[in-house]
Amino acid sequence: MTGFDLITDHLPVLTVVIPLMAGFLTPIVGWIDRKLCWYWVMLTMFAVLLMTSSNLYTVITSGTIHYHLGGWTPPIGIEYVIDLLNGFVCLIIAFIGLMVGIYSIESIKKELPNKIIPFYSIFLLLITGLMGMTITGDIFNFYVFLEISSLTAYALIAMGDRGDGVVASFNYLIMGTVAASFILLGIGYLYAVTGSLNIADMQGLLPSIYDNKVVLAALAFFMVGFSIKVGLFPLHAWLPDAYTHAPSAASALIAGLMTKVGAYAMIRFMFSVFTPEFVIDMTRMAEILTWAAALAIVVGSVLAIAQSDIKRMLAYSSISQIGYILLGVGLANVIGMQGGLLHILNHSLMKCALFLVAGAIFYRTGIRNLHQFQGLGKKMPVTTTVFLIAALSMIGVPGTVGFTSKWYLALGSINAGQWIFVIVILVSSLLNIVYFWRVFDNIWFGHPHEVEHIKRDEAPLSMLIPMVLLAVLCIFFGLFAYYPLHYVLEPLSNALLGIGVLP
């Protein structure tokens, strides 16, 4: 056995352990030289990206990876399982993490000059938490990682706007604690009736006791807990403040990833801990979820129209977009599910890009009020073009990522016979146009003569690179959605709904 084999065998656990160790070592690196922190984070994130890519590739070519922690076999030991679903989500986490990492060097230098070391340390721990949540096959282990990611997110948000950031963080903490406690309680209930904590084991044990009220209660606790975590309307109250007042880089990271991993967890619990028959037919939880999601789509979009702070507007738009993901999941047919899962990828790309743009604009001008954006088109042409592309994606213009997921979601709704959701999806596109077009008008139109003298003053290159890359991907996956769909999402949706088996 060569050293290389040693690493490849342990890749699943390394994707969690490496950012964890790196996170704890960051203060030491920073103690040597603060400037080294960024390179250290880049190195780590790049390694994580390579590992997650390799994991997903292995899953696609040779099937699900099972890794037994410490060699203990499940259900006694903790097992890490990577299948298409979490391999896919892990890759998104690693990629968005890397993008925000590249971006953060300038933005943190300006916004948090005294907190560079803690920021990067917590940044890596947040990645650890999200990775762990995604990769683990043990639900108590899941809870621990959930709390790691939550605690680090509280800390990141508290670093933001003075006063506002701390209050937002505290509110998030209270809501997050309620959510985590509910989830912990649900885990306890399931443990009480099955005596197991392993997801695969539990899925085998549960169907015989589905008529037990404790199982039902556990499902209810999970759904409420995750609904808070993903900010599903009407449990979204913490989200706008948290997204608005966090530092720019943290906003992009949290908006791009936190809710998406929450949505992943919801899917995992609904379809891998419980079985599709239970959530779809026996309890009709999936149907309830679609209605809540449809409500979130509309209300989120309407509230976004009322905002004048660009980050807050994007936050409300997130509430609506989470609705898309959950609508697709709740439709519980293969096409809708593909739409929902695809939107996890798409929304991460678009929303991360939009928050990065908001951060870049704030970095250069100190403005977040979108009514003061006049002349930005001339001042920051690249940044605003990225904004245009990402916003058009959000609207769902064909040729961008937003269209493909909307297409699948609408088609899935028709397949489910729910024409009202088709209308909801289409109407929300219109609402998206309304709130994004206000920004376009302010950036490019309105005062032709006042902006004549404005000089070009673009964001630094380290900020432009990730933004442009994300915008390019928004178009790339809009035109080539065939690849994620064909290789990952179609077999995955079939497997989740119990129509096929994962390779």
């Binding site: 058009l392 213009v397 064909p398 040729g399 493909t404 297409w407 699948y408 609408a410 088609l411 028709i414 397949n415 088709v422 289409l426 109407v427 596109s429 219109l430 146009i433 077009w437 008008d441 490019w444 139109f445 309105g446 005062h447 032709p448 003569h449 004549e452 809009g478 035109l479 080539f480 959605a481 065939y482 769909l485 064909h486 179609e490």
Partner: protein, 497 residues
């Protein structure tokens, strides 16, 4: 009838040319001469590419090219057939004139943000050609939306609050219609599993319940709001705040033409002649567009602003195109399709004349134009040619399409439709003759001296007027529009002529 298919990348290139040009335009934004040079180069290359495909089409072949498989079973693909190339030739040919005219117009008025203007113009042209060559509804929708977005900055170009609010109105109408189109495409895909155009309509739609079919047709037609059917026409007169070359683009080259083009694609290539006839949809639609034809003409008479009058005239004239298609007789369809290029040439002449009046004489309202022909005789002569064409009088081409439409209506023995066509011709005369009368025969308020528009504007408008006459007196020249239309009609009716 087996139709031979040729695979070629030319259609994709024809679409891409102006995309590439748009990037070059942005890159050379600081050097106006080079920037506008690119516009010209792209216009000529685009036109040559489109024309290069014509011989194959005239042989009765079809050119296809699949760009990428966007989603499983949903490719972005191009397919050039006779009807597509008809629209493509019209747009790409007129772009050359509009480019020249734009330069004259924008430079004379010293407009701001000209780089953005040429950039969006090039993108809009790409979208129009893309719509013309789309092989399926999804590709068409892609370019349809791109066209909406790229023309918004053109409509709101002056950035005054009036322009912005008109731009918003434009966007609201077209985006809502886009959503409706998307909905219809989804429904078609759901029931038939394909969105690809076919000469006999998409197979599988005939199994739909009648009510669903009607609703689908309505949502499709709402989706074609770019064609400015009443009551979805309000964006078109509002968009008149835009610079005149943009109006020419909207009316003659790209936008409304894309709307009627899509409407015909839907009527003949998605639903198909047979389904239109069986379901009785053709008659309802014929009556519906007849209302638009008459009402819009009446509205046009009430407008004093020349551009607004022309806008309502467009609303009315475009409904001829759709009327022709829904007559579903050979002559009717010929008339309708032929009206796309014919109306394009005549209307662009009229708009370029209106723009020349604004630039040179600073006059927008008809009531101010007493005796203006003494100052700008060439412009007003060209205007007269266009107006005669619109009314349906020789020598300009309009009378040919009207003749075909009348033949179509007569074949059906439908007195109402014949009446509509005749009345509308009278109404057209009623709103165009006053303009001609005012310009030529009324005494000017003060003495006018000869002062024509700059050459960059005068030459294109003269040329399009001359072409309008040529296609009127020699419509059946080999390779001309009538030839192309005949092949297109043969395709959809399933027989030869």
């Amino acid at each position: 009838m087996a139709i031979e298919t040729v695979h070629s990348i030319t259609p994709a290139l024809a679409v891409l040319v102006s995309m590439v040009a748009s990037v070059l335009i942005l890159a050379f934004g600081k050097y106006p001469n080079i920037r506008e040079g690119w516009t010209f180069v792209a216009a000529f290359i685009k036109f040559s590419l489109v024309i290069s495909m014509l011989p194959l089409i005239l042989e009765g072949k079809v050119i296809t090219y699949t760009v990428i498989e966007m989603l499983p079973n949903l490719p972005i693909a191009f397919k050039v057939d006779a009807f597509g190339i008809l629209f493509a030739i019209t747009s790409s040919f007129l772009w050359i004139f509009v480019s020249s005219y734009s330069i004259g117009y924008m430079r004379t008025l010293k407009e701001h943000a000209q780089t953005r203007y040429y950039f969006c113009f090039a993108i809009a042209l790409s979208s129009a050609i893309g719509i013309a060559f789309s092989a399926n509804l999804v590709t068409l929708f892609l370019f349809y939306e791109l066209l909406t977005i790229s023309t918004y900055p053109l409509v709101a170009h002056t950035e005054t609050s009036e322009a912005i609010s008109s731009g918003r109105k434009y966007l609201t109408y077209l985006m809502i219609s886009g959503i409706s189109l998307l909905f219809s495409i989804l429904v078609v895909y759901h029931y038939t599993g394909t969105t690809e155009f076919s000469f006999s309509g998409i197979a599988g739609l005939e199994t739909l319940p009648r009510t669903t079919l009607y609703i689908l047709f309505i949502t499709f037609m709402v989706g074609c709001a770019k064609a400015a059917f009443m009551p979805l026409h309000a964006w078109l007169p509002a968009a008149m705040v835009a610079p005149t070359p943009v109006s020419a683009l909207l009316h003659a080259v790209a936008v409304v033409k894309a709307g009627v083009f899509t409407a015909i694609r839907v009527i003949l290539y998605v639903f198909g002649i047979d389904l239109m006839e069986i379901s009785g949809l053709w008659l309802y639609m014929a009556y519906f567009v007849s209302i638009t034809i008459i009402l819009a003409s009446i509205f046009a008479m009430t407008q004093d602003n020349l551009k607004k009058r022309l806008a309502y005239s467009t609303v009315s004239q475009l409904s001829y195109v759709v009327l022709g298609a829904v007559l579903i007789t050979q002559h009717g369809i010929t008339g309708g399709m032929l009206h796309i290029p014919y109306h394009g040439f005549m209307k662009i002449t009229l708009f370029m004349c209106a723009g020349a009046l604004i630039v040179t004489a600073k006059k927008e309202n008809i009531s101010d134009m007493n005796g203006i022909a003494r100052q700008m005789p060439i412009t007003m002569l060209a205007f007269t040619v266009g107006a005669l064409g619109m009314i349906g009088m020789p020598p300009a081409g309009g009378y040919i399409t009207k003749w075909y439409l009348l033949l179509g209506a007569a074949e059906l023995d439908n007195m109402i439709l014949i009446g509509v066509l005749l009345i509308s011709a009278v109404l057209n005369a009623a709103y165009f003759f006053p303009v001609i009368y005012v310009a030529f025969f009324k005494k000017p308020d003060k003495e006018l001296t000869y002062k024509e528009a700059p050459l960059t504007m005068l030459v294109p408008l003269t040329l399009t007027a001359i072409i309008s006459i040529i296609i009127g007196i020699w419509p059946d020249a080999p390779g001309m529009f009538l030839d192309i239309v005949n092949i297109a009609v043969a395709n959809v009716t399933g027989g030869g002529i």
